[in-house]
Subunit: 337 residues, 2 copies
C-alpha cells in the first residue's frame, strides 16, 4: 500500500495525495475528503523512510540512552521529552546497551533521522576528538561530562553534577555525624565513569578528615545491579569488618544494600547509617526513607534541551552547566555512637 495506490484508488495524482497528507492549502475540499476516506479505507500509512529520505530537514532531536532499565534516567527522559515537544520539536529515543558504541549509534541515528541535535544520556567519559568527529550535529552530554577523555571543552556541551564533589559531600554528611568507619558500595573504582568519580570523592572526604582508606571497606560489585549490590553487602557483613556507615553511589543499589543490612541483622540507621546519590522516586518509599543527594532530574533534562536548542537555532555556542544536588534528609542516617 503506497501513495500511488491511494492516488489510483481516488483517481488523482500522487502529488495531490501528498498535498492532502501534508495539509497543504491548495486542494479542493471535495478531493481532500475523497483522499482522506481512501486513506482510512485502505489503512494507508506513509512510509516514513521514504518521507525522511526526501525531506530537507526534520524537527527531530535524538536522545541516546545507555542503560535500558536505569530508573534514574526515566525522570530525565520525561523532562527532556516535554521540553523538546514544548519547543515544537520531536524526540527520538534510542536505547543502547552497555557494550554498544554510543557515538556510532548516535551518528547512525543522526543520519537516519536527519537529527538536528543530540542528547547523550549516561554515556562514557572517554570520548576522543576522533570519535566525536563523526558527529556533525550539536550534542550535549547529559548527566556526565568528559572527565577522562581528551576532549576540549569547546567541542561539546554538557549538563552534569560534579560527581566527585557531590560524593565528597555525601560522605561529609556521615563524617559530621561522627562516623569514622565508613564503607563504600560501588560498581568499580576504575570504570572511567561516575563510579570512579564518586569513589574519588569518597577518598577525598576521608583524606580531609585524616582517615586512612581501608580497602576492606570498599565493596565493588562490578555492576549496577541490585542483586550484585545485595550480595556485596552481605559479604561485607560476613567478613565482620566493622563499619558504622555506608556510602552507596546510586539509590537503586542503596535500596538493595538496606535490605542486605536488614537481613544481616543490622538496624538502619542505629547500627548502620546509609547515604546515597541520585534521588530516584523509589527511594522515597523505603523504610526508613533513604537519605540521599537528589540530582535535579527534571532540571537536568530541561537544561540539556535548552542548551541543545540554543545551539541548533544558533542562539549560542556550546556550554557546560553544573547542577547541584539537594540533600534529602531521610531516616537512614543518624549520629555515630
Amino acid at each position: 500500500m503506497t501513495i500511488k495506490n491511494v492516488a489510483e484508488y481516488c483517481g488523482v495524482s500522487v502529488s495531490t495525495v501528498s498535498r492532502v497528507l501534508n495539509d497543504h492549502p491548495d486542494v479542493s475540499e471535495a478531493v481532500r475528503a475523497r483522499v482522506m476516506a481512501a486513506v482510512q479505507e485502505l489503512h494507508y500509512v506513509p512510509n516514513s523512510s521514504a518521507r525522511d529520505l526526501v525531506r530537507p530537514q526534520s524537527d527531530a532531536i535524538g536522545l541516546v540512552v545507555r542503560g535500558v532499565g536505569n530508573p534514574f534516567f526515566t525522570a530525565v527522559i520525561r523532562a527532556a521529552e516535554q521540553a523538546v515537544n514544548r519547543a515544537g520539536y520531536t524526540l527520538v529515543l534510542h536505547q543502547i546497551h552497555t557494550e554498544e558504541n554510543e557515538l556510532l549509534a548516535a551518528a547512525s541515528l543522526a543520519r537516519a533521522k536527519k537529527l538536528r541535535g543530540l542528547i547523550l544520556l549516561g554515556g562514557c567519559f572517554d570520548y576522543t576528538p576522533e570519535q566525536t568527529a563523526a558527529l556533525d550535529i550539536p550534542y550535549v552530554c547529559c548527566s556526565f561530562t568528559n572527565s577522562f577523555g581528551s576532549l576540549g571543552n569547546t567541542d561539546y556541551s554538557s549538563v552534569s553534577i560534579d560527581d566527585q564533589a557531590e560524593a565528597r559531600r555525601a560522605v561529609e554528611v556521615l563524617l559530621r555525624k561522627g562516623h569514622r568507619r565508613i564503607a563504600v558500595l560501588l560498581d568499580s573504582i576504575r570504570d572511567h565513569s561516575i563510579s570512579e568519580l564518586r569513589y574519588r570523592g569518597y577518598c577525598q572526604a576521608l583524606g580531609d578528615h585524616g582517615i586512612r582508606l581501608d580497602p576492606a571497606l570498599v565493596a565493588e560489585t562490578g555492576d549496577f545491579d541490585m542483586a550484585a549490590a545485595y550480595d556485596s553487602v552481605r559479604r561485607l557483613l560476613e567478613r565482620k569488618t566493622d563499619f558504622t556507615a555506608l556510602f552507596v553511589i546510586a539509590d537503586s543499589m542503596a535500596i538493595a544494600a538496606m535490605k542486605a543490612l536488614h537481613d544481616g541483622g543490622r538496624r538502619i540507621p542505629e547500627d548502620c547509617s546509609i547515604i546515597a546519590i541520585d534521588g530516584i522516586e523509589m527511594s522515597t518509599y523505603t523504610v526508613p526513607t533513604l537519605t540521599t543527594l537528589i540530582q535535579p532530574q527534571d532540571e537536568m533534562g530541561e537544561e540539556a534541551v535548552r542548551i541543545l536548542l540554543d545551539m541548533v537555532e544558533g542562539r549560542a555556542g556550546n556550554r557546560h552547566v553544573r547542577l547541584h544536588t539537594t540533600l534529602r534528609a531521610g531516616g537512614s542516617v543518624c549520629r555515630a555512637n
Copy 2:
C-alpha cells in the same frame, strides 16, 4: 556525506562501496581496504532511511510499549530482545504514551521499518476489527488480551496471565489467612484494562466467601503512580475504616502502600497484611519482602517472541497462551488475629 562522496573519494563506483558496506564477497581486498579507510576518514554513516526504503524486507521485529517507566515491563523487554536476537532478528523498540493510539503507532512503525512482526506490550483491551485491520503483519499482545473488545480470537495472538483469576487467587491467600476486612488499591474499577480485571477477581474472591463488598475499602488512585498510591492509602487510614489486609494490583503501588501504612503507624504484616501482583525486582528488597504473585516476565517476553516468529516464518497460525503466576511468600502477609 553520501555513498556517492565516498565512491568519488575512492575513485570507485557506488555499487562497490555498497558491496563493501554490506559485506558482499566479490570485492578485492585492496579496494575493500581503501573504501573502509575512506569511510573512517569521512565519518560516513549510511542513511538508513534510504537503506530501508530499498531493502525488500528487514529482519526487524517491533515492540511497542505503552508506559515509559513501568518497571514491570523492563524485564519483559530484556527477555524479548534476547529471544529476538537469538533468532537472528532485530528488535525495534518504540515507547508510546498513555494517550497515544498504539495501533496507529504500531502501523506507522511497521511501514517505516518494514517490520516482519509486532509485539504490543501493555496495551488496551478494546481493539476492534476495524482498528486492527490497519496492521497487516502478525502481532502478539503481551501481558494482556482482548478481554473487552470485539476482536475474534483468531485475529491475533496473545500471551498473558488470567488477571481476574490471579487477582482472585491473591485475595484467596489473604482469606485463607483469616482476613475478612480486605481493602483493595487499584487504578480504576472501570479502565477496561488490568485494573478492572483484577478488581473483578477481588470481588469474586470476596463473593466466594460470602463477604459483602464494602465500597469504603476500595481505594481508586486514578493512576499507576506511586505518589497517588501513597496518598490513597493515607486517606484510607484517615477514614478510620478498619481493615486487616490490603490487596494491591501492582507491585510498584504496593511498595508505596507499604510506606503509607508504615507512616500511618501500622506494622506490616502484624497490623495489616499486604499482597500484590507483578513481581518486579524492586519488591524483593522491601522490608518485609513483598508477598506477591510473580508474573513470569522472562517467559512472557520469550513466549511472545516464539509465537510471533512461528507466525512470521509460517510455522504456525495465531494462538493464545496463558501463563501462570508464582506465589512469592514474602513477609508481608500473616494470619489475621
